[in-house]
């Protein structure tokens, strides 16, 4: 066995890439699980095509999964991977430009034949030229994988399906990760020859890396020093689904989810459909409109109604959402934003629906809007959304996005006893009951539900009398009701914590972010500050209403920069609301911000000022 050495690194970013049928998402997920258990901080970025099986070997069909892991705290999946694993020429071509200069590239040489090269658009084999530029590791993966399985009765086709696990075995050895979580998963998932094949190639990959001279060095990334506690790995969609289930428990009121399948929100429906024992009822409706309508019906009946969707579906829900505003029922609407407009780029990332959430309905029709800032934060955001919906008898929109939905991070599991409990108490007092008699503090109307004797009443979308809720076309009553509904949403600011400044609380430049861009903005500001630049940042989790100290904070800075994955929607709002010169920093390429992009913009702005 050749002499091997071990090197310690602070952090590494690896991108697994291949055809969309090569199992890259699974490979990345399994590597992530072992990395989480190794105690590193981590952040992941899956990036895959919308087509389930795009034409094999083409650039359009390339699927990737990036993981950034470290012994320090990190907040992004990293702009540039240190290691690129490419299962075919198309994967190499689509990703090689992102590699950190001098990084490592691991390729499956068996996939680099003339036909595949042509399909990827290469005129000639790119590997010879690459050998000088990067640390190129050329492994005949397909052949080695078949050899590991040659005594099993598997077709080449079936055998080849496990070659991603051969590669995973290699990566486990290279970065000192444990195979155990993956082995446990395989045992729970498969049996017979398929189980045997996957276990065998995983171990074969590990052993191959250990013995081959291709890898003279393996790498250790010490565990990160993070807040003590019990951790798990979590994606935004899972955290969001668990937040919904938790809201049912914490509010002591059953959840009713109306949903229609749509990328990238469907996983929330899948996840919640498994929790019937939490009293969760999931209803896969015939369309987006029926999904929200059923949820509103459930709210009227006294349940916690929720509907989950993405951009195009959120558009369809607007009329029903208007009815929920008019009938003043608690409802939570989750929009996992995706690349748009129209069908757009379903699996890609964008924050394009903020103004839709605010203004997407006819007339003046306000709703509360929250946006989680990290995958784990999706859990807490949902708990808060339900609490506000019930307390203020209003729809609450939660704007997640495709990045939060599918990215993973280590998550400090909260103590259930520490979570806010707000048991729902439906209105039962008959004396003086009026369907629209408001709580003087919150302006919420009573939540009186069918089955309650003496409180029979009718609600609907027609303009209604300020007290009785009966249909009313009185002009002044109508204007008062519109203003009351707006005032009710404005008062939610009383329940929102003031926004906190990261960095000095006054100065030359403030970066304002919202939602899923928190990690990139935070990392850029941190790096800028470490290099001596005076810049601060705030991150908004509450988009309507804004935190009550927002104007005061904004006005303490000379310049305001608002990085958003849209054409400047929040910056427009800040300008309109506060008459302050908030500058947009826009990106709408279906990808998250890179830290370097924001950092560069910070430098440019401060340079121009001088």
């Amino acid at each position: 066995m050749p002499e091997k050495t071990t090197e310690e690194l602070e952090s590494v970013a690896i991108r697994f890439t291949g055809d969309s049928g090569d199992g890259m998402q699974l490979t990345g997920t399994k590597f992530t699980e072992s990395t989480a258990l190794a105690g590193n901080d981590l952040s992941t970025l899956p990036d895959y095509p919308a087509e389930i099986r795009a034409p094999a070997g083409t650039l359009a069909g390339v699927s990737g999964f990036q993981i950034h892991f470290s012994s320090k705290e990190i907040s992004t999946p990293s702009d540039h991977p240190d290691v690129l694993v490419a299962f075919n020429p198309a994967a190499l071509r689509a990703n090689i430009d992102d590699l950190r200069p001098g990084g490592m590239v691991i390729v499956n040489t068996d996939a680099f034949n003339d036909k595949a090269l042509a399909r990827a658009g290469y005129d000639e084999d790119p590997l010879p030229a690459l050998r000088d530029r990067v640390k190129l590791v050329e492994i005949p993966l397909t052949r080695l994988n078949r050899e590991a399985l040659n005594d099993l009765n598997l077709s080449y086709r079936d055998a080849d399906r496990s070659k991603n696990f051969f590669a995973l075995g290699i990566m486990f050895w290279l970065y000192h990760r444990s195979m155990d979580p993956t082995l446990r998963w395989l045992e729970s998932r498969f049996k017979g020859d398929i189980l045997e094949a996957n276990v065998r190639v995983l171990k074969a990959g590990f052993a191959f890396a250990e013995t081959t001279e291709m890898f003279p060095v393996s790498y250790v990334i010490p565990s990160a020093k993070i807040q003590p506690g019990i951790y798990r790995n979590i994606t935004g969609n899972t955290a969001l689904a668990w937040g919904i289930a938790a809201a049912g428990t914490l509010n002591d009121c059953p959840i009713f989810l109306g949903a229609y399948p749509i990328t990238p929100a469907s996983d929330i429906l899948h996840e919640l459909a498994r929790y019937r024992n939490f009293g969760v009822k999931t209803f896969q409706a015939e369309d987006e409109i029926a999904a929200i309508s059923a949820a509103i019906g459930a709210s009227f009946a006294g349940m916690l109604g929720v509907t989950t969707t993405s951009g195009p579906g959120f558009v369809l829900k607007q009329e029903a959402l208007g009815l929920a505003v008019m009938t003043e029922l608690p409802l939570v609407v989750v929009d996992v934003q995706r690349g748009g407009p129209s069908t757009g780029m379903p699996t890609k990332i964008e924050q394009g629906d903020l103004l839709l959430a605010l203004y997407g309905r006819n007339s003046d029709c306000p709703v509360a809007i929250l946006a989680p800032s990290s995958p784990g934060d999706c859990f807490y955001t949902m708990i808060e959304a339900f609490a506000l919906a019930v307390k203020y008898m209003t729809p609450v929109v939660v704007l997640s996005d495709g990045y939060l939905a599918n990215s993973a991070e280590p998550w400090l599991i909260p103590d259930v006893a520490s979570l806010p409990r707000n048991p729902v108490v439906h209105h039962t007092e008959t004396a003086g009951f009026q369907p629209y008699n408001r709580n003087p503090e919150t302006l919420a109307r009573p939540w009186a539900v069918p089955g309650t004797k003496g409180l029979e009443h009718r609600i609907g979308g027609l303009a209604k009398d300020e007290k009785t809720g009966n249909v009313s076309y009185d002009p002044h009553n109508n204007e008062r009701m519109i203003q009351l509904r707006a005032e009710k949403i404005a008062r939610i600011a009383n329940d929102i914590p003031p926004v906190e400044v990261n960095g000095e609380d006054q100065g030359g430049l403030l970066i304002v972010g919202w939602g899923g861009t928190h990690g990139a903005i935070f990392a850029a500001v941190k790096e800028a500050r470490e290099s001596g630049i005076n810049v601060s940042s705030i991150h908004l989790r509450h988009l309507n209403p804004f935190p009550s100290n927002l104007f005061e904070v904004l006005s303490r800075f000379d310049q305001i920069l608002v990085p958003e994955l849209n054409q400047g929607q929040l910056s427009r709002l800040l300008r309109a609301e506060f008459l302050l010169p908030a500058q947009p920093m826009i990106k709408q390429q279906g990808q998250p911000f890179q830290v370097s992009e924001i950092l560069e913009r910070i430098r440019t702005m401060l340079r121009e000022e001088k």
Binding site: G229, R276, A291, A298, S299, P414
Partner: protein
Amino acid sequence: MVDVAAKLTQKDFATDQDVRWCPGCGDYSILANVQRVMPEFGIPRENFVFISGIGCSSRFPYYMNTYGMHTIHGRAPAFAAGVKASRPELSVWVVTGDGDGLSIGGNHLLHAIRRNIDIQILLFNNRVYGLTKGQYSPTSRTGMKTKSTPDGSIDYPVDPVKFALGASATFVARTVDVDAKHLQQTLRRAHEHNGTAFVEILQNCPVFNDNEWIELENKKTRSDATLVLEDGQPLVTGSKGQRRGIRIENGIPSVVELGDDEDPIAAGVAVHNERHDSPAYAFALASLERPNFPVPIGVFRSFERAAYDTMLTAQVTQAIERRGEGDLHALLHSGDTWTVE
């Protein structure tokens, strides 16, 4: 509870709101008859929920002193699904029209029926848009001249009963707005049914499509113009000297002229059976139209099949039996976790 409910009267189901349909509208009769049968069901008033969409008929919930929701155009079945699926103990009624239910809301009607959610759907069919002042509807006859079809409609209409049968409805009936006795009896049958009960109510719009159903409404003509369906009884209609029966061969209906004392079964007249396994028989009945045939009223089809809300509740109960009540702490700690000291 039942004692209290039994004391309820028609009046208890009326609200203090002025009823604002046009004079002579068929909706008045339907409202009065619905209010009349409600007390018979022995259900506390607070356990009724009336849900409607948009249109003349959809003002209905405002006039029922129960829980009610006037929702958005076409979507009432979806709202009702949410109410019933979350609270199966409630008696949920949808009131819709031919435009609301079969045009903008056709999709929701289809899926509520196919799921067999235990709700009653009353579709008032006047073959015209009333609230928007007189455009043709999806049930209007081809050629109908309206504001939006000055040269006559070139749409082929959809038949509500055929639509419901096509969606595998477990209960399909048709009745007439002013035929109080038949309407009440049909509502009772709809209420008794477990699963989606779909009832088409032929209803007159005196302003935009007057006399559309006059033959079926007029006491003098209706015995000849209608065929009253009764389970186990031969398909016979007509006054003395006009007696006719319906024969159905290979799914094709035909009229059999009958003598006043003639045995219809011996003459090959079909015997009504609500519970045929195949919907083909009911579909053949639904194809009987004026002027060549009498129009069937009554229950076309009624059979038992587990309701959506019952099965959903059972899944929740079984999940709790199998896995125990949901434990948030256990959920958050499920799968791989690690401890940072």
